[in-house]
Amino acid sequence: MIKWLGSSKATPFWFLAPVIAFGIIFFILPLGFALFTSFTRWDSLQPPRWVGLDNYLYLLTSDRRFFPTLFNTLYFAAGTLAIGVPLSLGIAFAFTQSRFQSLWRSLYWLPMVTNVVAVAYIWIFVLAPTHGLLNRLLAMAGLPGPGWLTDPSIAMLSVILVFVWMQLGSNMLLFSAGLNNIDESYYEAARLDGAGTWQVFSTITIPLLRPTVMFVLITNLISGMSYFTLMLVLTEGGPLGRTTVTALYMYEMAFADLRLGRASAVAYILFALVFVLTLIQLRFFRQGGVDAH
C-alpha cells in the first residue's frame, strides 16, 4: 500500500486529495449524518434515540402541515420557473440586439449582490397595504390596493415576483452567455431566407439554446424547491401559512421546535422529490435533443 502511494498511479489521487477530503467532510458526512438522524428522535441536547421510520410515517400520514407546505413549495418553484425563465430569456435576447449590453447586464445583476434582508425590507416598503409605494400609486390612479403580502390568495405570487426580480440578473447572464455562443452565421442565413425576428428567435435561438435552458431550469428548480430565506424575512410564512414552504417548515421544526430527527426526514423527502423532478426534466430535454448539442 505504502509502495502504491508513492507510485505514479497514486499521483492523481494526491492532487485530488484536498477536493476529495473537502467533499467527504462537507458533503458525504453531513448527508450520512442527516440520513442517520432522520431515523432518530433528537433534540440536540440529549443523545439521539432510534425510532426507525417513525419520522417518515408521521410526516406522510399524520402531519397536517407537511403536504400544504409541499404544495406551497411546488407552487413557488413552478411560479419562479414559469415567470422567471421566459422573462430572463426575453430580456437577454433583447440585450443582444441593443447597445450598452454591459451596462444593462450590470444593472440587472445588482439585486444579486444585495443582501436578501435588505431586499425584503425594500419590498415590504413597496408592497405594504396601506402606506406601501405600489398601493399609493394605485390609489392615485383610482385603483384598489390589494394586500400584496397580507392577502392569502396573492401573497405567494408576490413572493414569487420578488424572487424573480432577485434572480433575473443571474439567469439573464447565463442566457447571454448561451446566446453569444450561437454562431452569427445561422442568423445571417435565416435573415437571407427572409426570416423575421420572431422566426429567428423561435427556430434558431431557442433550439440552439436548449442546453442553457436545461441548465437554467434545473438549477432554478433545485434552488426554488429548497429556498426559504425570502419567505422568512418577507412574510414569516404567512398569511395563514400560504408562504410556508417545506424548507421553512423544516427550519422551524429543527431550530425552533428542536425536532432535528423529523426535520432531517423532511430534508430527505424534499431531496427525493427534487431528484425525481430533475430526472424528469433531464429526460424531457434529452428527448428534445439536448444530447446532440
Partner: protein, 424 residues
C-alpha cells in the same frame, strides 16, 4: 557609593522583588473566564457591563465575557454552542425554554444558597416562572405582563374617556376609532394584532386568564382550549375582523405611530412608546386591565431567568457572580439597573421598590403583579411549538375559515398530540 545610597538601593530592589512576586503570583493563578449569553444589545446591557468591570476589579483572576444573540436566534445559538462544546457558562433565557433545557440536563440546579436567595427576595409570580415541577432553575430577571394598551387621544376623539372593561365595550370603542381609505385599507385601527406568536397567542392566553381559565390543566397534560370561555374569547376576536374593525394591513408595530386605538401588549415596550411619543407619552398611552366578563380580571406574565450551564467548569463562580449581579447594593442591583433603563420590570422585590415605576404606565403593571392578577405563563414542554400551532388556528378564525369552536377543537387535538409525545 555611600551607605545611605546602598540602603536605598536595597530597599528599592526589595520593593521591586516583592512587587514582581506579588504580580507573578496573581498571574500564576488560572484566570477563569465566565461567559454570559443574553439577548440584550450593548446599549441595553451597558449597566451590567459596568458591573462586570467592577466585579473583575474586585475578583482578580475572573474574566467576564458577554455574548449577545438576537432574541429570535437565541435558542438556536445555545443549541449550536452546546453541540460544538462551546456553551456559555451563564444564560439569560425565556422561562418557556427552561423545560426542554432542564429535561435535557442542560441546566445546573442552583446551590441551596441561591435557592434561598431567590425564595427570600423574589415575587411569587417570577419564582413560579423559573420553576419546573417544583424545581427552581435560576434567578428570575425581566418580568413582562400583558395588559390592554390604549391610545387615550384616539379614544377621546372617538368620544370615550375611559378604556373598555368588557369585550363588547372594546368592540364598540374600536369600531368608532377605525377608519379606512378609498381603497378599503385601514388607515386607523381601533384594535390590532401582530405577526408574531406574542401578538396573537399570548393575548389569547391573557384573555383566558381574565375569564378565569388557565390555558392548560394543572399538570399540563391537557389544554382548556375547548372550554366555553376560550371559544367565546375567539368568537369575540373574530368579530373584530368580521366587522372590519381590524385587519392584517395594520399591526401592533403601528401603535407607536399613533394610528392604533388598542391592543394587548407587554410592559417592555415602554421605552419604545417614550421614544415615539416623547413629551406626549403620558397623555397618549394608557394601560388598563384585560377586558373581561368578570369583575375579578386576570392576565399572563412571563419571565426571563439567569441560569447556569450544566457543563460549565466555573459553576460556583457563575452562581456567585449571578448572586452579586442581582443583589441590590447602594440602590438597584446591576440587573435592576439594566431593567430600569429599559423600562422593564424586575421580579426582585427590592429592585421593584426602587425602580421608576411611579408613573401611571408602570404602576398599572406593578399592581397587576402585586395583586396576583398576573399569573405565570405555564412552563409546558414544547411551548414555542404549541404557541405557534395555536396561532395558526387563531389566524384561521380571524380569516373566517373556521368557527372558533372548530378551530379550537382542531388546535386542542394537535397540541394534545404534542403534549403526549413530549411525555413519552
Amino acid at each position: 557609593m555611600n551607605k545611605l545610597t546602598t540602603s536605598k538601593l536595597r530597599v528599592a530592589v526589595s520593593a521591586l522583588a516583592l512587587t514582581a512576586a506579588a504580580t507573578s503570583s496573581v498571574f500564576a493563578q488560572d484566570t477563569k473566564t465566565i461567559t454570559i449569553a443574553t439577548h440584550y444589545n450593548d446599549e441595553q446591557i451597558a449597566p451590567i457591563t459596568a458591573c462586570f468591570e467592577a466585579y473583575e476589579a474586585e475578583h482578580p483572576g475572573i474574566d467576564i465575557v458577554h455574548q449577545q444573540a438576537s432574541y429570535g436566534d437565541f435558542l438556536q445559538t445555545i443549541l449550536t454552542s452546546r453541540v460544538g462544546g462551546t456553551s456559555p457558562d451563564i444564560y439569560n433565557i425565556y422561562s418557556i425554554w427552561a423545560p426542554q433545557l432542564a429535561a435535557a440536563g442542560a441546566l445546573e440546579v442552583p446551590p441551596q444558597e441561591v435557592l434561598d436567595f431567590v425564595n427570600a427576595n423574589y415575587a411569587d409570580g417570577s419564582v413560579g416562572a423559573a420553576t419546573i415541577d417544583g424545581q427552581l432553575w435560576g434567578i428570575p430577571t425581566e418580568l413582562s405582563v400583558y395588559m390592554l394598551t390604549y391610545n387615550k387621544k384616539l379614544l377621546a376623539e372617538a368620544g370615550y374617556d375611559a378604556p373598555p372593561a368588557t369585550w363588547d365595550e372594546l368592540l364598540e370603542i374600536a369600531a368608532a376609532i377605525s377608519k379606512r381609505n378609498d381603497q378599503g385599507n385601514l388607515t386607523q385601527a381601533g384594535y390590532v394584532y401582530g405577526t408574531t406568536v406574542a401578538n396573537a397567542t399570548h393575548p389569547f392566553y391573557s384573555q383566558m386568564y381574565s375569564e378565569g381559565v388557565s390555558p392548560f390543566n394543572e399538570d399540563y397534560s391537557a389544554t382548556n382550549f375547548t372550554s366555553p370561555e376560550a371559544v367565546a374569547i375567539l368568537e369575540g376576536q373574530r368579530a373584530l375582523f368580521e366587522q372590519g374593525i381590524t385587519g392584517p394591513e395594520m399591526t401592533t408595530d403601528d401603535f407607536p405611530s399613533g394610528t392604533v386605538g388598542m391592543y394587548i401588549a407587554a410592559n417592555w415596550l415602554k421605552s419604545t412608546y417614550q421614544d415615539a411619543f416623547g413629551d406626549e407619552f403620558e397623555e397618549t398611552v394608557g394601560i388598563a386591565p384585560i377586558p373581561s366578563s368578570r369583575d375579578d380580571w386576570g392576565t399572563m406574565l412571563y419571565s426571563f431567568l439567569w441560569a447556569v450551564d450544566s457543563t460549565s467548569d466555573v459553576k460556583a463562580e457563575s452562581w456567585e457572580l449571578l448572586q452579586w449581579l442581582n443583589t441590590p447594593q447602594d440602590g438597584l442591583s446591576c440587573t435592576g439597573q439594566m431593567l430600569n433603563g429599559m423600562g422593564a420590570l424586575s421580579g426582585n422585590i427590592a429592585d421593584l421598590g426602587m425602580m421608576d415605576v411611579d408613573d401611571e404606565f408602570s404602576q398599572a403593571y406593578v399592581e397587576a403583579i402585586e395583586s396576583g392578577a398576573a399569573q405565570t405563563q405555564p412552563n409546558v414542554p414544547q411551548a414555542a411549538e404549541i404557541d405557534r400551532v395555536l396561532r395558526s388556528y387563531i389566524e384561521q378564525v380571524w380569516a373566517g375559515n373556521f368557527s372558533a369552536a372548530d378551530a379550537l377543537a382542531e388546535a386542542d387535538a394537535e397540541i394534545q398530540a404534542i403534549l403526549d409525545d413530549a411525555a413519552m
